[in-house]
């Protein structure tokens, strides 16, 4: 094996600037042409998804009975949220166990739509229960009830969760 050839190949292999991957010429034209078509179909499917969501919402959750419950985590909160349970008027609406990815998304400012359903207009009660772990490894759980009124428009409730130092229960509910 020629040492010089080997070393030259090695230099070519390693001496490239770090940048966003520049395309190598490996069936590149075919791949790029297909890439364009893939982008088009993605766009088509996104439009279908949007229309379908709209149709689904109209069909399953009409605005006069629609209620959506969202969950977010208070800013700078480091506690590990394990699960959340939502009850409406004493009946279990939903229960969610969080994966690491979901928790990270909440901690970065994402808001989870945890429940969408239907209720009649009037006064109702929402009960929120959360289970989690504090930074020191100690388990904690909290539960709180909130009253809210459902009118003729879709109702959106935003639940903000935090550790015990946040408030009495660490659970706050806002009307949106």
């Amino acid at each position: 094996m020629s040492r010089l050839t080997r070393i030259s190949m090695l230099v070519l292999l390693v001496c490239s600037p770090i940048a966003i991957g520049g395309a190598q010429e490996l069936s590149g034209d075919d791949i790029r042409s297909l890439d364009g078509q893939v982008q088009e179909i993605k766009s088509d499917v996104l439009n279908i998804a949007s229309e379908l969501s709209n149709l689904e919402e109209r069909l399953l959750y009409p605005s006069n009975t629609q209620i959506a419950v969202f969950v977010s985590v208070a800013e700078s909160e480091k506690f590990r949220l394990d699960s959340v349970q939502i009850e409406i008027n004493g009946e279990l609406a939903t229960h969610h166990i969080y994966s690491f990815q979901e928790l990270e998304a909440l901690q970065k400012g994402g808001v989870q739509r945890i429940y969408t359903g239907n209720i009649v207009t009037g006064d109702h009660e929402l009960r929120v229960t959360m289970l989690g772990k504090l930074e020191n490894g100690k388990d904690f759980n909290a539960s709180d009830s909130f009253g809210f009124a459902k009118g003729v428009k879709p109702k959106a409730l935003g639940i903000t969760l935090a550790g015990p130092e946040f408030g009495a229960s660490g659970i706050q509910v806002g009307d949106w």
């Binding site: 390693v14 279908i48 949007s50 069909l59 977010s72 994402g110």
Partner: protein
């Protein structure tokens, strides 16, 4: 051993260039927050679907300032572009960002958009367009992307073969918190491209000694040392190259290459004992790696130089076995790919659930279709093609799931239709009756209210007379009319009595007027409440009636259209998957054939060297026996 492919470095840097999804200080729009929730998990399809719908709805509003998205609209439009970019929809991303750029927006927002557009062009290898987009940046620049812009500018110069300009930019980035390590390495490469060898070596030495705990920066530090060591090796400065090659971490992505080069550097200085150390480590590593395969051949070569021919023969034999096994594996891989199992393995659900799926591919079970997967992934085009294939598979899965929901929707509409259709005509008849009565009462109520309001300014006591008083008054007026004109004593006396009676009645009406008006007003207010209840019930009924109709009318056409669109898209996707999959298979098979032929060549060399080593070992043994 944990080992990332070379291409990982490119990905790491991409991660640095792509800004995080925007996050406003105080979130005012839950639906924007929901899109961010998906984006932060890498679910860009879902994020795009929600945000796109939300932004479109916002744009259609008559008074967008009253909408909660109004506070985030700039962020939301940027995020759309960002999500599209991350979902590899460069065309749409470019359009979204151009729209922001051309709108009447703040200087900071415009400059941010220009940077993002430049990034898209750069990723698409359109360097002139990327530079033009950067040239649009003028005035105030957001602090968070100041270094990103300059780093991108330097990379464009490098890609355009203008290292001198790149050097000027990169020098200023040496103290950057986010790009320090990358800029240090790229500056070294820029010097090299510019023909400034000494400056390049000094710069790479600096880049190779940065203090960091960040995995990405550790990798770039390794790469700096590897490049520096390789340059010195190429220039015949073997002894000098070894310390740099030895600085490369043994568990980093460049360690195999560094171990191999370190061995060759030692061989070149005739330090055969030193050469066997890195090669011994390397020869035990992943047998599919090129550097490992080369080390398997180089190690016995070094033992041969040390006159340890017996051991050389053993290692040549081991290499021969390994090459033979690898050639068998390659044959099995090629066969398996040709039978379509490669693509099946890639779209396994459990792999795609993890956001680091590219890394997880490494842990796929050892099957012929995946032996050489990571090596194939080193190619950018293969990665692009593979990602597209996986995206297509995801879309197909989604569409097929949606297809099944159309049947449920149809059934739901039919059930509602069957329930409401017979009920509604009777309800409508009853409602029409009730409606006319309610309307009458509403009119009467309005009239009373009007009368009360009028009496507040113009007192009309007779309006508040009791029915009895009204009857008496009517009777008096009737008798008065009958006695009118009569001059009899009875008539005169009766008229006097009637006047007294009327006077008494008028007295009562006048003196009790305020009391009665108050009573009337109180009663009317009670009626207001009852009327409000009636109106509320009436409105509720109208809404419920509309909801009943809306629950099953007007769905057939959209469901039918969507069903057709979904079917059509599934067909298109399946065709695209076949084409994309075929392309991937061809690329993979070509690459594996090339590898096989290299290994066969190595095998031939090992076979000859093995025979030679046996001869030499036998000769050496004979010489020893003679002595």
């Amino acid at each position: 051993m944990s080992r990332a492919p070379l291409s990982l470095i490119g990905l790491l840097l991409f991660g640095c260039l792509a800004t995080s999804p925007s996050q406003s200080d105080e979130l005012k729009d839950l639906y924007f927050g929901e899109a961010l929730y998906y984006a932060h998990q890498g679910h860009f399809f879902e994020a795009l679907e929600r945000l796109d719908t939300e932004v479109k709805q916002h744009d259609e509003l008559d008074e967008p300032a009253l909408d909660t998205l109004y506070y985030h609209i700039d962020d939301a439009e940027f995020s759309l572009g960002d999500f599209e970019l991350r979902y590899r929809m460069h065309h749409r991303a470019g359009r979204a960002i151009k729209a922001v750029l051309e709108g009447a927006v703040d200087e900071i927002v415009r400059n941010d958009a220009a940077y993002r557009l430049a990034r898209i062009h750069f990723q698409k290898n359109q360097m002139a367009d990327a530079m033009r987009a950067l040239e649009r940046i003028d005035g105030k620049v957001p602090d968070s992307i100041r270094d990103d812009i300059e780093f991108l500018r330097a990379n464009i110069y490098l890609a355009e073969g203008r290292p001198a300009e790149s050097i000027d930019v990169l020098r200023k980035l040496q103290d950057s918190d986010s790009f320090g390590g990358f800029a240090a390495y790229n500056l070294g490469i820029a010097y090299l491209q510019d023909g400034q060898r000494q400056a390049a070596l000094e710069q790479l030495e600096r880049a190779g000694q940065i203090a960091t705990d960040e995995p990405a920066e550790l990798a770039i530090r390794d790469k700096s040392n590897l490049v520096l060591g390789t340059i010195l090796l190429e220039d015949g400065e073997y002894g000098k190259s070894i310390p740099y090659l030895n600085r490369v971490r043994l568990d980093g992505p460049f360690s195999n290459q560094a171990l191999l080069s370190s061995g060759w550097a030692s061989m070149s200085t005739d330090s055969f004992e030193r050469a066997v150390v890195p090669w011994n480590i390397l020869a035990d590593r992943e047998a599919t790696d090129r550097a490992t395969q080369e080390a398997m051949l180089a190690l016995p070569y070094a033992y041969g130089k040390l006159n340890v021919h017996g051991r050389a023969a053993i290692f040549y034999g081991r290499a021969l076995d390994s090459f033979s096994t690898e050639v068998d594996k390659l044959n099995a891989s090629i066969e398996s790919i040709r039978e379509g199992r490669f693509l099946e393995a890639l779209i396994r659900e459990e792999i795609r659930k993890n956001k680091d799926w590219v890394i997880r591919l490494r842990s796929l079970p050892e099957t012929p279709e995946t032996y050489y997967l990571m090596e194939l992934l080193a190619s950018h085009d293969f990665q692009t093609g593979l990602q597209n294939y996986l995206d297509l598979a995801d879309l197909r899965r989604k569409l097929l799931a949606w297809e099944t929901s159309f049947d449920s929707f149809d059934e739901m509409v039919d059930i509602r239709h069957a329930h409401y259709d017979p009920l509604l005509p009777d309800i409508d008849t009853l409602f029409r009756e009730l409606d006319s009565r309610i309307r009458l009462r509403i009119e009467q109520h309005k009239m009373l209210v009007k009368r009360r309001d009028h009496m507040l300014t113009t007192p009309r006591p007779e309006f508040l007379a009791t029915p009895e008083e009204q009857a008496i008054l009517g009777r008096i007026e009737h008798i008065e009319t009958q006695l009118q004109g009569s001059e009899s004593a009875f008539a005169v006396s009766s008229l006097q009595r009637l006047r007294r009676l009327k006077g008494m009645l008028t007295w009562t009406l006048e003196t009790k007027y305020h009391e009665r008006l108050t009573e009337f007003d109180r009663n009317l207010r009670g009626l207001d409440h009852a009327m409000a209840v009636v109106q509320e019930q009436y409105d509720q009924y109208v809404r419920a009636r509309q909801a009943a109709t809306h629950s099953y009318v007007g769905y057939q056409k959209p469901i039918k259209r969507l069903r057709a669109q979904v079917r059509n898209s599934v067909t298109k996707i399946e065709l695209l998957m076949v084409r994309q999959g075929h392309l991937l298979e061809v690329v993979a098979v070509e690459e594996l054939i090339a590898r096989r032929s290299r290994l066969e060549n190595y095998g031939d060399k090992a076979r000859f060297a093995l025979a030679d080593s046996y001869d030499r070992a036998t000769q050496a043994q004979a010489n020893m026996d003679e002595q």
